[in-house]
């Protein structure tokens, strides 16, 4: 086996065999689902104690309109309004004062409280009153059957969104679902680039700081050592992705095979529409490889330049900013996947691997994909070449941190 192969093998096997990798890979999908479920669950439970809102209704007309909810308990005041002003009774959340006919005088209602009132309290009260008042007003017109007429006149359009493919065939899609898929892949590629890029940097630094690099480069070319590391760790990332794909899509696939009529699967089909998950996975792999190699080579260069973890910060900062910018560009592109931000960010190589993931579920024309990939590959080749120069000098340089001027000198060697 050639040297590159031996290096790749070590980089790959030592990481894949680690307990932490195995556990994390298996647990991650569950953790992710658990996290989302947890957030949904927490936001769905309201607090046990409904907040008490005392109502001082001078008209006597409106109190009955305010119905108790899970969050708010409306209580008729037994004392006058002035008594509540100084009263710091903890059990009273707010005091609602209605001082006149709201139809004639809509300002005659005020909510007082010691604390800033949350907006849901305001909307609960106003929407209840608005509805009551509208009906009252309608009644005051004395037109028979007016309510029915109005109800009938409320038209709601039920629009289906149907996409035409090239042959004019119709397929149904759900824009939200497409966006969700895009976001999942965007986050995935963002996390992968960060995690595995950082892993490359750690690996390079480890070899440099414990000086094993000197033993190795006496038998392997520095370029092979660097490429071995990049490829080996990249394969670890693809392995992880592959396992997740198997864990998530495996049951779905088996399901379609053995129980094609299960309701869940029937439900999934129209959502997916013509979003070709296989195609997206393919592009994910292409853009992951490109984006990973591009960023990991920058990280490798950083690892080769520094002597300790603390020194990395200075060089990491600009790269972090670019990656985070790419993520935000991706998130905003969901709103308008064909807009100028989405288009340019999915062409610019430093952001394209992340942003393109958002756009893929919304049918991107083939030349855009091709151009984006071509630009990415060109950048990868350029970056790897530049990194190789920094790397082979950097790994044997100990002592002080190199200045930017010195690094430029290394590039010219």
């Amino acid at each position: 086996m050639n040297k590159l192969g031996i290096v790749i093998q070590r980089e790959y096997l030592t990481r894949v065999k680690k307990k932490s990798f195995i556990i994390l890979t298996i647990l991650m999908p569950f953790l992710f689902v658990g996290l989302v479920a947890g957030i949904v669950f927490l936001s769905s439970i309201s607090s046990d104690n409904a907040k008490v809102i005392v109502v001082v209704d001078e008209t006597g007309e409106y109190f009955s309109v305010l119905k108790n909810t899970d969050q708010y308990l409306f209580v008729a005041a037994e004392k006058g309004f002035e008594d509540f002003r100084k009263n710091s009774d903890e059990s009273v959340y707010a005091t609602l004062v209605i001082s006149g006919d709201l139809l004639e005088n809509p300002d005659a209602i005020t909510l007082y409280s010691q604390k800033q009132v949350v907006s849901s309290a305001e909307t609960t009260i106003t929407s209840a009153l608005n509805e009551y008042l509208s009906e009252k007003k309608l009644d005051s017109y004395n037109i028979p059957n007016l309510k029915n007429i109005i109800n009938e006149s409320k038209v709601k359009v039920k629009m289906k969104s149907i996409k035409w493919d090239d042959s004019g065939k119709e397929t149904q899609t759900s824009a939200e679902f497409a966006a969700a898929i895009g976001m999942v892949f965007t986050f995935l590629i963002y996390i992968f680039i960060f995690v595995y890029g950082a892993m490359v940097m750690q690996g390079v630094m480890e070899e440099k700081t414990n000086r094993i690099v000197e033993v190795i480069v006496s038998s392997v070319k520095p370029f092979d050592l660097m490429m071995g590391k990049l490829i080996g760790i990249g394969l670890v990332g693809l392995t992880q992705f592959g396992i997740w794909l198997l864990v998530i899509l495996g049951p779905v696939f088996l399901g379609t095979l053995f129980m094609p009529d299960t309701t869940i699967l029937q439900g999934l089909k129209p959502l997916l529409g013509d979003i070709n998950l296989m195609e997206i996975c393919f592009y994910f792999i292409v853009f992951f490889i490109g984006g990973y190699l591009m960023y990991a080579s920058i990280f490798a260069a950083i690892g080769a330049m520094v002597n300790s973890q603390e020194d990395t910060q200075q060089y990491m900062m600009p790269i972090m900013i670019v990656i985070i910018f790419a993520l935000y560009a991706g998130i905003f592109s969901v709103q308008n996947p064909d807009g100028p931000l989405a288009f340019w960010a999915s062409m610019f190589p430093l952001t394209s691997p992340i942003v393109m993931m958002v756009r893929l579920p919304f049918d991107v024309s083939w030349w855009e994909k091709l151009l984006s990939i071509a630009l990415l590959i060109t950048t990868v080749i350029l970056f790897v070449k530049l990194t190789a120069k920094i790397y082979r000098t950097g790994i044997l340089m100990y002592g002080k941190k190199p200045t930017y001027a010195e690094i430029i000198k290394w590039l010219k060697y």
Binding site: M1, K3, I6, V7, R10, T14, E206, E207, N210, R211, I212, V213, E214, V215, I216, V217, S218, S219, V220, L396, Y398, E406, K409
Partner: protein
């Protein structure tokens, strides 16, 4: 026979000249000591021989032809700054490093097991490196250096970090390698070990070779013609034209004198002169230690 030779090797770093036309000759089956103060350029020269860095000019001749990329399989290198993967299992990484030196996985494993047994660390094969003591790590590093049985071995400060027991073990290993016909380049500050095991040396100071040749020859060339003479008498009868007494130290029954020979005569003649007038118990010429020669040459140069 000349095994390795560097010819006018020059290496310029950004701000300083690391090697200035350095030419050294290493004979086959000899232990060659590469000496010099810190920062003299020893490590740079070793890296050039290892093909880790390329010289700006000059060339390295290996077995009568220019050094080629594949020659690195024929070199074992123990760098001054030792390093192995801390989190990796000892046996696994030894096999990995041996494979990078061109051995097959199976071959590497068989040979390594033999070495591990010899150094009494076989039970640590499946342990992570960080669990080993420093001395054991050094042993692993040494094994990794020699396992592919290269013809040329380069040891950069091999004894640093070893306890006396392991130093002895390592010294014997190095001498055994020489017996087996290997050529060894040995870089060190430890002058006592140079006298003990080196056949030839080159002293590099400020990027230049300032002294080189056979160790015994160098030491006798640097002789100052000072002798230690022990007599039964308290006084030494001498001819002031050929002898100068430098110091006198009285013992219980005897007296020891340090004297300098002032005339260019052989030691035998000189002793004859002294014997005529004195009852001499012992007569010994002081041969300068490598340590003295090192300090003397370097300070003179600076």
């Amino acid at each position: 026979m000349l095994f390795l030779e560097t010819k006018e090797v020059v290496k310029q770093y950004a701000n300083h000249l690391a090697l200035d036309k350095v030419s050294v000759q290493v004979n086959e089956q000899k232990i060659f000591g590469l000496l010099g103060p810190n920062g003299a350029g020893k490590t740079t020269l070793i890296r050039i021989i290892n093909r880790i860095t390329a010289p700006d000019s000059g060339e390295v001749i290996f077995k009568n032809r220019p050094l080629a990329p594949d020659d690195i399989y024929n070199i074992g290198y123990l760098p001054e700054e030792r390093g192995l993967y801390k989190k990796m299992k000892v046996g696994e990484q030894a096999v990995y490093l041996a494979r990078l030196k061109g051995l097959s996985a199976a071959e590497a494993k068989t040979r390594l097991k033999i070495w591990f047994k010899k150094f009494d660390i076989l039970s640590w094969w499946d342990k992570k490196l960080e669990e080993l003591s420093k001395g054991m790590q050094q042993k692993v590093q040494f094994i990794v250096t020699v396992v592919h049985e290269p013809e040329l071995l380069i040891f950069d400060e091999p004894f640093s970090g070893f306890d006396p027991l392991n130093t002895e073990l390592l010294k014997n290993e190095i001498l055994e390698l020489k017996e087996k016909g290997k050529t060894i380049i040995f870089s060190t500050h430890n002058m006592a070990s140079v006298e003990e095991i080196c056949d030839e040396i080159a002293l590099i100071n400020q990027s230049k070779v300032v002294l080189n040749g056979d160790v015994t020859a160098i030491r006798s060339q640097n002789k100052k013609h000072i002798f230690k003479i022990q007599t039964e008498n308290e006084n030494l009868q001498i001819d002031p034209t050929i002898c100068e007494i430098l110091s006198r130290e009285k013992g219980y029954h005897t007296t020891t004198f340090r004297v300098r020979k002032l005339k260019d005569i052989s030691n035998a003649e000189y002793l004859l002169f002294l014997l005529q007038q004195n009852e001499i118990i012992s007569f010994e010429e002081e041969i300068p230690s490598m340590n003295d020669i090192f300090i003397q040459t370097v300070t003179k140069n600076n």
